[in-house]
């Protein structure tokens, strides 16, 4: 009998221990920010490279401006942010938010706003003078139902056409194309000179970016913005024209594009196997890091002064343990000094229009000038134009189009995606 009791106790104890370890596993680092109101936990996916350097610069500024608070790094590495987003979603569901977290500015924030998970910052925008420091188009894009919920840290540009100077010179191309027909002529010239696939392209989101650039050329910035707000019809004839242009562009691109990341496509450009690549302006920092100097850049043909922006921004979550500390972080982030500390190192440009261009490297100086006078348009694959669900649906349709080139089916899918996700 005694043996049996002991066995029973052991078994029960073991079961309890297993249960406890199972349940305790997801507590994680939730406690770090709770121990006193001096700590500010900043949740990002900036764990290495230029992004980490930018964050470090910003933290240095934070230490000066907000010396009464202590910065706690809550970075989750991996998967270009997808790991971090999963962790964040579960923490928000458990009402254990970090003091502030990183998110793409614009439509990608709508889920959090609708769930009431982040606070309105309109009052702070007035107090800190941000409404006038950021361009009006950007402020409009950030405004949801008359309120602003996030402070952008930087601006990247998506619609930039990168080129290999030597390849262009060999084909006698001296000036960047201003319109789509000119661009097609240049591509034909390059083909005739033996560059079989003059346009380097990668998979999924890189194809979405190229397609959006073509859309901007066909529709112009205003109608393009309308695609995302519901004012422009995806079923329209101008969208069909854009899809046909895009289909024609694909014939100039490498056939194995669906096996390529953007850096693989970049390699084609660097090796001179391709002349052009459409990519965001993080390519400048990457080409510089790879010590490739023979490149030039221009806005995508036909885009005019449209500045397709994407931005990382920070928010004040509801239930943050140290809201005053978070506000101090956001104030630093929005200030001229904070934006400079961050962007010089990250390779992007400040969202503020009053920054001093000469503080930055050459590409960024040009981008700052364009940002000040350009028309801002958002980007779906980078979260400023559409929600994550919309982005996934468009990505899938684009992938299908890359393999079958079916214009009607792509347009039908785009219409269906807009119907399912717009206004949500």
């Amino acid at each position: 009998m005694r043996v049996k009791t002991r066995a029973l106790v052991t078994a029960a104890g073991l079961a309890l221990a297993l249960m406890a370890s199972g349940c305790g596993a997801d507590d994680g680092d939730g406690g770090t920010s709770g121990s006193g109101n001096k700590k500010v936990e900043v949740f990002t996916w900036w764990a290495d490279g230029g992004e980490k350097a930018g964050l470090d610069g910003l933290v240095a500024q934070f230490k000066t401006d907000c010396s009464q608070y202590e910065f706690v790094n809550g970075a989750v590495a991996g998967g270009a942010g997808s790991n971090a987003k999963q962790v964040l979603a579960s923490r928000l569901q458990q009402s254990d938010p970090p003091d502030t977290f990183q998110a793409h500015a614009g439509a990608e924030l709508t889920d959090y706003i609708k769930a009431g998970q982040i606070e309105d910052l309109s009052a702070q925008y007035k107090e800190w003078g941000l409404s006038s420091a950021f361009p009006k188009g950007l402020v409009d894009s950030l405004t949801v139902g008359g309120k602003i919920y996030s402070v952008p840290a930087n601006i990247h540009r998506a619609n930039v056409l990168w080129a290999n100077k030597t390849v262009l010179a060999n084909a006698g191309i001296t000036a960047p194309a201003k319109t789509m027909p000119e661009f097609f002529t240049q591509l034909d010239t390059l083909k005739a000179k033996g560059i079989a696939t003059p346009l380097a392209l990668g998979k999924d989101w890189t194809q979405q970016m190229l397609f959006e650039a073509v859309l901007i050329s066909r529709l112009g910035p205003d109608k393009f913005n309308g695609l995302w707000s519901g004012k422009t019809d995806w079923a329209g004839a101008d969208v069909t024209d854009a899809i046909n242009d895009y289909k024609k562009l694909l014939t100039y691109s490498n056939k194995d594009r669906d096996t390529f990341d953007w850096t693989d496509a970049e390699k084609l450009l660097m090796e001179g196997k391709a002349a052009f690549q459409l990519m965001g302006d993080w390519e400048a920092a990457d080409l510089d890091a790879k010590n490739f100097k023979d490149y030039s850049y221009s806005v995508f043909p036909g885009n005019g002064d449209a500045y397709q922006w994407l931005a990382d921004s920070f928010v004040l979550p509801k239930g943050a343990k140290n809201p005053e500390g978070t506000k101090c972080w956001l104030k630093t982030l929005g200030s001229a000094a904070g934006q400079k500390a961050f962007n010089v190192k990250k390779g992007s440009i400040p969202a503020r229009t009053d920054s001093v261009a000469t503080d930055y490297p050459a590409y960024q100086q040009a981008a700052i000038a364009d940002w000040a006078k350009g028309t801002p348009v958002p980007s779906c694959p980078h979260g400023s134009a559409c929600s994550q669900g919309w982005q996934g649906a468009v990505g899938s349709a684009q992938g299908k189009f890359s393999s079958d080139g079916d214009v009607a089916s792509l347009q039908k899918a785009l219409v269906a995606a807009a119907k399912q996700f717009a206004g949500k």
């Binding site: 199972g22 999963q86 998970q117 490498n254 194995d256 669906d258 899938s396 349709a397 684009q398 890359s402």
Partner: protein
């Protein structure tokens, strides 16, 4: 009465107590979570906002009727092509190798190890290598296998591999076949070895030819082995995720339900992801449950 109860207790209580921890853990983390997923698949939790209520089987119906571009049906078709090519390829190759080894080869142990070894490699690791081998560039841009074909002047063999919109999934099955044929071979080899020598001797006495011996004596005895191999390959194929993610990444041409679940989760559409998971579970159950029933019967008989 009470002594009888105590005696009965004594018989099954210790076993139950020892099993209890694993039963509880299984109950919570496997069956509990299956139940939770099933419940989630019946709600409208399509974003991070949470659920507003139950929608019955709507999520399942939408998958087949409303999905943009018929994405879910497309992923099922991909899975079908993959599974058919993978199972057929691995079974035929495995049987062939087992047959050759069974006929008596010098250095059998060496070949057995060589064939079995790919199974020790993870799908992720072999996927990365096959991603390079199955490079879809042709002509001057060729790499991997296409490069070899090109250099050997066998240009007609160059092909787009997994990027082919119709038969890409057949190419995707190649790494899986390469990896699991050796395992199937080991199964068949033990099947061959399990056939008593008397049977072969009796067949020889009756004057059976080599072909007749295999056709009427040996192969019929391998049916249970073939069935086990089919089930094991089948359920692995249904859940295929890591190989596809490391060869192609998540994209339209090679999307199967498991990858679709992942993609859907990344957009926070929890209800839809749960619905696809439930269909996947049913598909695997269709393969596994008859096998379990069959096994139970065989064990009871013996």
């Amino acid at each position: 009465m009470s002594t009888k109860n105590t005696a009965r207790m004594r018989r099954w209580a210790p076993g139950l107590i020892l099993l209890a921890p694993s039963l509880i853990v299984l109950g919570v983390f496997v069956y509990g979570l299956i139940g939770w997923t099933a419940k989630l698949s019946l709600t409208d939790e399509h974003d991070a906002l949470g659920s507003k209520g139950f929608v019955g089987l709507q999520n399942f119906i939408d998958l087949f009727t409303e999905d943009i571009n018929g994405r879910f049906v497309h992923s099922l078709k991909n899975l079908l092509v993959f599974t058919a090519v993978f199972m057929l390829g691995a079974l035929l190759l495995g049987l062939l190798w087992a047959f050759l080894l069974e006929r008596g080869v010098r250095g059998e142990g060496f070949f057995r190890a060589v064939y079995l070894f790919p199974m020790a490699v993870s799908f992720v690791a072999s996927g990365v290598v096959w991603r390079w081998l199955m490079n879809s560039g042709t002509g001057d841009q060729a790499g991997g296998l296409n490069r070899i074909f090109h250099d050997l002047h066998l240009g007609f063999l160059e092909n787009p591999w997994w990027t082919d919109p119709d038969w890409g999934m057949a190419a995707m099955a190649l790494p899986a076949i390469w990896q699991l044929s050796g395992y199937v071979m080991a199964l068949f080899l033990s099947g061959f070895r399990g056939i008593p020598a008397e049977l072969r001797e009796a067949a020889a006495m009756d004057g059976a030819t080599g072909y007749q011996l295999y056709r009427h004596v040996i192969f019929p005895q391998l049916t249970p082995t073939a069935l086990s191999a089919l089930i094991i390959l089948g359920h692995m194929s249904m859940k295929m995720f890591d190989l596809i993610m490391s060869v192609s990444g998540a994209q339209w041409i090679t999307e199967v339900p498991a990858v679709y679940v992942w993609q859907t989760l990344l957009t926070s559409d929890y209800a839809k992801a749960a619905a696809i998971s439930m269909i996947l579970l049913l598909l695997v159950a269709v393969v596994i449950i008859p096998y379990l029933i069959y096994n139970n019967r065989v064990e009871r008989r013996s």
